[in-house]
Every structure is written in C-alpha cells, then in structure tokens.
C-alpha cells in the first residue's frame, strides 16, 4: 500500500515539475477556456434571472471542452519518451501511474476553473442566491468525475487512429450523468431554489464507482500492446 | 405514407441495410477461401 502511495506521489511530483517548467498544457487549457467564456458571453445576453439559470450549463460545457484539450495530450509526454514501456516492465503498480496522472490532471483543470470562475462571474454579473461555499464541493467532485474517466479513456485512445476524435467520442456518453448532476447542483446553488445535496451525493457516488472501475481495469489497459 | 407504414418500412430497411453491409464486407473472404482451396 505504501508503494502505491510513494509511486503515485513520485509520478505526480514529476508531472507537476515538468508542467511547471514548460507550462505548455496549462497555457493551452487556460487560453481555450478563456475563448469559450468570451464566445459564450458574446452569444447569449441573459438577464440576471436568466443568467443564474443557464450559467451552470455554460460553465460546465466550458470546463468539459477545456478538459478534453488537457486530456488529449495527457499521455503525450509518456508516449514521446517510451515511458509507458518502461512502466510496463517495472514492478511499480500500474494504478500508481494512473492515480498520479489523474491527480495531476485534476489539479490542472481545477486551477483553470478557479481562474475562469471570476471571469464568468464578471461577464454574467452572477450572484449566488444559495449557499455559495457548496460550489467548492461541486467543483471538486465534478472535476474529478470528468478527469478520472478522461485520463482513463485518454490511455485507451492512445492506440487508436484519430485519437483526438476518439477521446471525446468515448468520454462524452460516459460523462453525461456527471455533467447533469454538476449542472443541476450549480443551477440550484445560483438560483437558491432547492437543495444541491442530492446532486452532490450522486456525484460522490459516481466518483467512487468510476474511480474503482478505472483502478480495477487500468492494469489491463496499460499492458494492452 | 403515414407514420405507421413509415415506421415498419424503416425497421426493415435498417435490418436489410445491416445484412447488405455484412454481405459486402465479407464477400472478399469467401473469394479468398475459394482461391486458397484451389491451391
């Protein structure tokens, strides 16, 4: 168990360090997210009331697109330097690689969201009528939901042609329930109508189930030649 | 054509389309087997 933790932390540290030095992925994601926010703001001119109802959907669509951009090159670095082959022959547990990657992606996407959120608030003049601290839970649980499946399917689409198309194609249907829950929770918090507790619980269960399934099956995917 | 007949026709069209697709995709296999049998 401690090996798992150590290797995960090592993988994560390596990714964070590499990314910090080049900031390739991060800049791409941030710019893309910015574009999406601005384009959406242009296209819709909602009243304050309308804004609270639709902002949830818009935010999460923007996050979904940005996440795909990030995930598309999530394994690119590993592919370039035959790291995956090295990993296959090493005694390190496959799940450690997966967890390290997933947590890394999670932190990146979360960082982009936290930078994007103020922009959304400004462009749409948003003011939450419900308990706004709950948004942190929505962000955390929702982002993990997208990233855990996204990292897994990014690994699957590594060995396919047109992998940039395969990833969203496979990821989107699987993510639908999570996106629905996220949007519902966000809208509930913004409009202050009802409680987001059901949606948050649903997201938590979704996260647990799909993280477990991913951990169980990642070894098979890693060793798939 | 009313919706009812359209629905039934669509059903059979879809099934026939799939069978046709199978026939086209696997015809070369039959040919290959025949050629190999001759050798």
């Amino acid at each position: 168990m401690s090996t798992l933790f150590r290797v995960t932390r090592a993988t994560l540290a390596k990714d964070l360090r590499l990314e910090w030095r080049s900031k390739d992925a991060f800049n791409a994601m941030l710019f893309f997210a910015l574009l999406v926010v601005v384009i959406f703001s242009f296209s819709f001119e909602p009243t304050a009331e309308e804004a609270r109802r639709i902002a949830g959907g818009l935010i999460w669509v923007a996050v979904l697109f940005s996440t795909i951009v990030a995930l598309n090159q999530a394994w690119a670095r590993e592919l370039r330097h035959q790291v995956l082959d090295a990993y296959r022959v090493s005694p390190a547990p496959a799940n450690a690689l997966f967890l390290g990657k997933t947590v890394g992606n999670f932190l990146f996407v979360l960082a982009v969201e936290l930078l994007m959120a103020p922009l959304f608030i400004v462009f749409y003049n948003l003011r939450a009528l419900g308990p706004s601290h709950q948004m942190l839970y929505v962000l955390a649980l929702g982002t993990w939901a997208l990233v855990v499946n996204g990292t897994f399917f990014a690994a699957i689409s590594l060995r396919t042609r047109s992998r940039e198309v395969m990833l969203p194609l496979i990821l989107f249907p699987i993510s639908i329930p999570a996106v629905l829950a996220m949007v519902s929770a966000t809208t509930t918090i913004l409009t202050g109508e009802g409680s987001a507790r059901l949606a948050l619980t649903f997201l938590a269960v979704y996260d647990v189930v799909f993280t477990t399934v991913s951990l169980l099956l990642f070894e098979s995917v890693l060793h798939a030649e | 054509m009313n919706h009812l007949n359209l629905a039934y026709a669509a059903t059979w069209l879809i099934h026939i389309a799939y069978l046709a697709y199978l026939a086209v995709k696997f015809a070369p296999l039959k040919r290959e087997i025949e050629e190999l049998r001759k050798k």
Binding site: S162, F202, L217, V221, A224 | A7, Y8
Partner: protein, 233 residues
C-alpha cells in the same frame, strides 16, 4: 456438412411474417391512439432485443477480460453490432410514434435518454474497434463495454432526479394500464420473432468473424513459413 442456416432462416421468416400479421391485422385497434399504436409491436420488442444483445455483450466482455478467448471476443462484437442495429430501430420508430400521438418528436426523459446514451456508447465501442491499432483491441473494447454498462445505470438515475422541470409524457402506454390479451399476444409473438432473427444474425456474424480470424492466422503462419520454404528449394 449440412448447415442448419437455411432451415433456421426459413423458420425465422415464418415467425416474422406471423408477427407482422398479428401486429397489423389480428391485434385489436387501440381506443385512444388508433392504428398508429401498432408501431408498439415493433418498437417494444426491438428495445427488449437490443437490451438483451447489449447485456450479452457486457457478459462476454467481462468473460473476455478474465479468460481472453478469441471466440468470446467474436461473440462480443457480434452482439454489439446486432444490438446497435436494433437500438437504431428503437430510436427511429420511437419518434415516428411520438410525433402524431404526443405532438413531440423527442423528450429528455429517463428512458429515451438512456436508450440514446446506450446507442452512443455502443457506437463508440464499434468505432473504437474499427480505429484501434494493435492486437489488444478486444481488451480495450471489453473495458469500454464494462464502463458503458455501469454508466447507463447512472444515466437513468440522473435523468430521473435532475431533469424534472418539463412535464413528462408517459410513454409505453401498454404497461401498468392492463394490456388487452390479444395485444399482449401480438407483442410476445413479435418479440419471439425478432429474438429469433437476432440470434440468427448474431450467429452469422459470429461465424464470419471466426472465418476472418482463421484467415488472418493462416496468413500470419504462411508468412512465417515462407522463408523456410525458400531455403529448402
């Protein structure tokens, strides 16, 4: 070796014809909807067959992940393809029925959305198989099938709980409202007919897959042997 295929095909054809007769002639006309309701006899059995195919696919996929048998993988791809065909029928006949009866082509209720997502997942399954390079394509596809199966359960629940703003038309009027025995018979007759048809097509597809597999193996072996033949001459 005599193939049972022609006889089974004939039998299936007979069943389907009987089903068609039941659906269009023998079954009584529905009171409120009228003739259009007869789409029900094709729409519902197709849905049941599609779900059975996809369930079979998930079971074969799990079996493959444990045992790695090529035959099981052939069964997996066969059931997936036939399932997609029947699911397409469901998604096409559904709106054709809904429009005249409820005035809308589509609604995002739990059942319809789950069916659409199921279709999307299995189309992506087939695309993954098509676009996969490398010999481990069956493993990746099997993994996707497992994810998809878990997901559909979540989709159904998420729509039930998070999409209740719009009034939901009750679709599938046959359940719960006490179906007329003659209608039930027509429904079951068509279910038996389409199930037989599905089994037949799955079997044909399975055989074709096995033939292709054998041919590939043959060519691979021939390529290995060929250098030796050249040397012995």
């Amino acid at each position: 070796m005599k193939s049972p295929l022609p006889i089974l095909a004939l039998l299936t054809g007979a069943l389907l014809s009987f089903g068609l007769y039941q659906a269009r002639v023998a079954a009584p006309t529905e009171q409120t909807m009228g003739d259009i309701q007869r789409i029900f006899y094709y729409h519902v059995p197709s849905a049941w067959v599609a779900f059975l195919c996809f369930t079979a696919n998930v079971l074969f996929s799990i079996h493959y992940l444990v045992r790695r048998s090529a035959k099981v993988d052939a069964l997996a791809v066969s059931t997936a393809e036939v399932g997609v065909v029947f699911c397409t029928v469901v998604l096409v006949t559904g709106p054709l029925w809904a429009k005249p009866v409820w005035g809308i082509w589509w609604t995002w209720d739990a059942r319809l959305t789950s069916t659409l997502v199921l279709w999307l997942i299995y189309v992506s399954y087939l695309v993954l198989r098509r676009f996969s390079t490398g010999s481990q394509k069956p493993v990746l596809a099997a993994v996707l099938a497992v994810f998809g199966f878990v997901d559909v359960i979540f989709v159904y629940m998420s729509i039930r709980w998070f999409r209740t703003q719009h009034p939901q038309p009750v679709i599938g009027g046959g359940e719960g409202s006490g179906i007329h025995p003659d209608m039930l018979f027509a429904l079951l007759a068509n279910f038996a007919a389409f199930l037989a048809f599905a089994l037949l097509v799955v079997w044909v597809r399975y055989r074709l897959e096995r033939i292709r597999h054998s041919l590939d193996e043959f060519h691979a072996l021939a390529a290995v042997r060929a250098p030796e033949e050249a040397r012995s001459r």
